[in-house]
């Protein structure tokens, strides 16, 4: 494997890890506040649809992003209503939200666009395009040289390759997602809000008796979760893709959840976990049917490799993951 291939795999890793990371951080806020959320998938999906739909109709990706966030927030609100106000079972609520999003997104898409549950393809200004950094090799250089970008990059020196291929050229949301990691760390461990948020996930009674509203905090956490899931969905539909296709989240919400547990609910570790999952997927996509001296590893093995490796890693290297102590339990004062 040559250097450029490695860079390309890493580049692909970043793209694949971004939606996972956003969803994972979303889950982190919610679960750190004691609200388990297996509805990340549904929220992303709903956001993906609405961002694409509104971007397609308005022609503005920013309006699309806002719409995606709003849609995700509505589902978050529903989750909050069920699990905070009505102290329902958070897992059931999450399952219901996943189903709801899977059904509604297509249903609305069909009665809105009549394109079989898709949105129209997004034109350029309705999409998040890659940000080309100064001096990076990109489409403009390619047009000048009348050669494909890939060829130009292949000819460039390694540092320039890393710069152009790996660092530059991602959409704004990618950089945002990675900036969210230190931001989340800072909010969680350096601010009053973070202190209270962590406390409410560990022992809501302590927060309550300290004179802070448990309900308010938890709704805030769930809302942040909604915003981040909204960005994740918008990224899928308007940055990685140019439109919505049904079920396009394809289980990423669950992988994000796995990453969250893997990371033991901590921001930096969440980033590494998402990058790992992204990397495993990137590798599996690039290397199918590996021929090991006559023994051909079937594509199915490569396809399942990220999952197999996850299990192996979990079994071998990660100790018991202890969730926030009050997680999953509604805060009930009076039985």
């Amino acid at each position: 494997m040559d250097f450029l291939t490695i860079i390309q795999v890493l580049d692909s890793t970043v793209r694949l890890a971004t939606p996972l990371l956003l969803a994972c951080l979303a889950g982190l806020y919610s679960e750190r506040a004691g609200i388990f959320d297996i509805g990340l998938e549904g929220k992303m999906l709903m956001a993906a649809f609405f961002s694409a739909a509104v971007a397609a109709v308005s022609g503005s990706v920013w309006l699309g992003l806002l719409a995606g966030i709003a849609a995700s927030l509505v589902l978050s609100g529903l989750h909050g209503l069920a699990s905070i106000t009505f102290r329902g079972n958070q897992l059931i609520s999450g399952v219901a939200i996943n189903f709801l999003a899977a059904g509604l997104s297509v249903l609305i898409a069909q009665s809105w666009f009549k394109q079989g549950g898709r949105t129209p393809s997004l034109k350029n200004e309705a999409r998040f395009e890659g940000l080309e950094w100064p001096f990076a090799i990109g489409p403009t250089d390619a047009e000048l040289a009348e050669k494909p970008v890939s060829e130009l990059i292949a000819a460039a020196p390694p540092v320039h390759q890393v710069y152009s291929e790996f660092l530059s050229g991602h959409s704004l949301l990618v950089y945002l997602a990675f900036l969210m990691v230190p931001a989340t760390w800072w909010v969680l461990y350096r601010t009053r809000f973070g202190l209270r948020l962590r406390a409410v996930g560990e022992n809501p009674a302590a927060v309550d008796t300290a004179g802070v509203s448990v309900v308010g905090l938890r709704y805030a956490a769930v809302a942040i979760c909604g915003v981040l899931c909204g960005i994740a969905g918008a990224y899928l539909a308007t940055a990685l893709q140019a439109g919505f296709v049904k079920d396009m989240t394809a289980g990423r919400g669950f992988i994000a959840l796995a990453a969250l547990i893997f990371a033991k609910w901590r921001p930096w570790q969440a980033m590494w976990a998402c990058l790992l999952f992204g990397l495993l997927q990137a590798i599996a996509l690039r290397f199918q049917n590996i021929d090991l001296g006559g023994v051909v590893i079937p594509v199915q093995v490569m396809d399942a490799l990220p999952y197999i490796l996850t299990v192996v890693i979990l079994a071998g290297f990660v100790g018991k993951a202890i969730p926030p102590r009050a997680g999953g339990e509604p805060y009930v004062k009076e039985r």
């Binding site: 329902g88 059931i92 399952v95 509604l104 299990v311």
Partner: protein, 364 residues
């Protein structure tokens, strides 16, 4: 003292919740420009109006009973087995092997062996996550999610590369021999003079499922093992105090859970398709989660919830057959049912409790 009479808890609340879900569903149907009354009519007659409809409703319900029980048993040991899907897939593999590679003289023997095969394969698929949870502390939720994906790859490999008959383009096993054909309800009921639709796929494995409900009930509430499972599920430190081995209970509960999920294959693979196809589980493993949650992890609750979901599936299919309502509507209705009966349960419960308290005070 309880806040409400038990019947209100077990009957009234679910019924009111279902009505709320129905009202919302009706609004959704209105919103997409269709007639909700007509739709309900179609669903009810389609799913419950004929033995044919019942045959399909019960067929789906059978699947959901198995996967619902699987989730429920794990729940009792405080484990969230999201792996029902994968375990049911592997169960299918077990059933297919039993049916294809052994010549059976009679379906009853084949069914017994298929049950064994399904349970062994399903349990085996649950065993690794269970072991990792018990011994290495790997979170069962992640490992079972991962094992669902891995199961799909395994099944794909087996069907594309191993079990596919020569020359067939369908990634599916060969058709099972006629001898392992399971009697459908039609064939079962005809001798006793009840005519049941010939076409419907509900078959003898429905009885297996009902039996499984009963056995699980007895297991959980009547046996020593069930006692230990529930005790462990309620309190891990308590279990330690009482000499209940967490490793043993984790393993056993997950093995039982996996075996139950695997058993689903007797219905869909052996009873209906009579061959193993890709994606034969069709998400029943996930529906099982909803069924178990709605059924409050009680086998009888699971039984009822499974029938409700069977009704939704079959009613939805009829809807799709005779109207232009997109099939996703059914997914939405399912979601609303899960939401109202499961997650927003207290929305109905809280005011009802107040009402009953006021009534009681009024009487006292």
């Amino acid at each position: 003292m309880d806040k409400m009479p038990k019947w209100a808890d077990v009957v009234l609340i679910p019924v009111i919740s279902l009505i709320l879900a129905a009202i919302l569903s009706a609004l959704v149907i209105l919103a997409i420009g269709e007639d909700p009354v007509e739709a309900v009519n179609l669903m009810v007659t389609g799913a419950l109006g004929s033995t044919y409809g019942w045959g399909y409703t019960l067929y789906y319900a059978t699947n959901f009973m198995f996967t619902g029980l699987a989730v429920a048993v794990a729940f009792h040991a405080r484990m969230f087995n999201i792996g029902g899907e994968g375990q049911a897939m592997l169960g299918g593999l077990g059933v297919a092997m039993v049916c294809l590679y052994v010549p059976w003289p009679h379906w009853s023997l084949a069914l017994l062996a298929a049950c064994a095969g399904a349970m062994i394969f399903g349990a085996a698929w649950a065993a690794i996550p269970a072991y990792l949870q018990a011994k290495r502390g790997s979170h069962i939720v992640i490992t079972t999610i991962m094992f669902n994906f891995i199961a799909a790859a395994v099944l794909n490999y087996m069907l594309v590369n191993v079990m596919r008959p020569e020359g067939s383009m369908d990634p599916a096993s060969a058709r099972f021999p006629e001898a392992v054909h399971l009697p459908t309800l039609h064939e079962l009921l005809a001798p006793i003079g009840i005519s049941f639709s010939k076409a419907a796929p509900a078959n003898v494995s429905l009885l297996v499922a009902v039996l499984a409900c009963f056995i699980v009930w007895a297991l959980i509430w009547r046996t020593k093992l069930g006692y230990e499972i529930r005790a462990y599920g309620h309190s891990e430190t308590g279990a330690l105090y009482a000499g209940i081995s967490p490793v043993k209970i984790t393993m056993i509960a997950m093995l039982i859970s996996g075996a139950l999920a695997g058993l689903m294959a007797t219905n869909n693979v052996m009873g209906e398709a009579e061959r193993l196809v890709l994606n034969s589980t069709e998400g029943a493993g996930f529906i099982g989660i909803a069924v178990a949650l709605m059924g409050r992890s009680h086998p009888f609750g699971v039984f009822l919830a499974a029938i409700l979901f069977g009704f939704l599936y079959q009613g939805g299919a009829e809807l799709a057959l005779w109207t232009s309502i997109p099939r996703e509507l059914i997914v939405v209705i399912q979601a609303l049912v899960i939401l109202f009966t499961g997650a927003l349960d207290n929305m109905v419960r809280m005011p009802l409790e107040k009402l009953f308290l006021a009534l009681r005070k009024g009487k006292a």
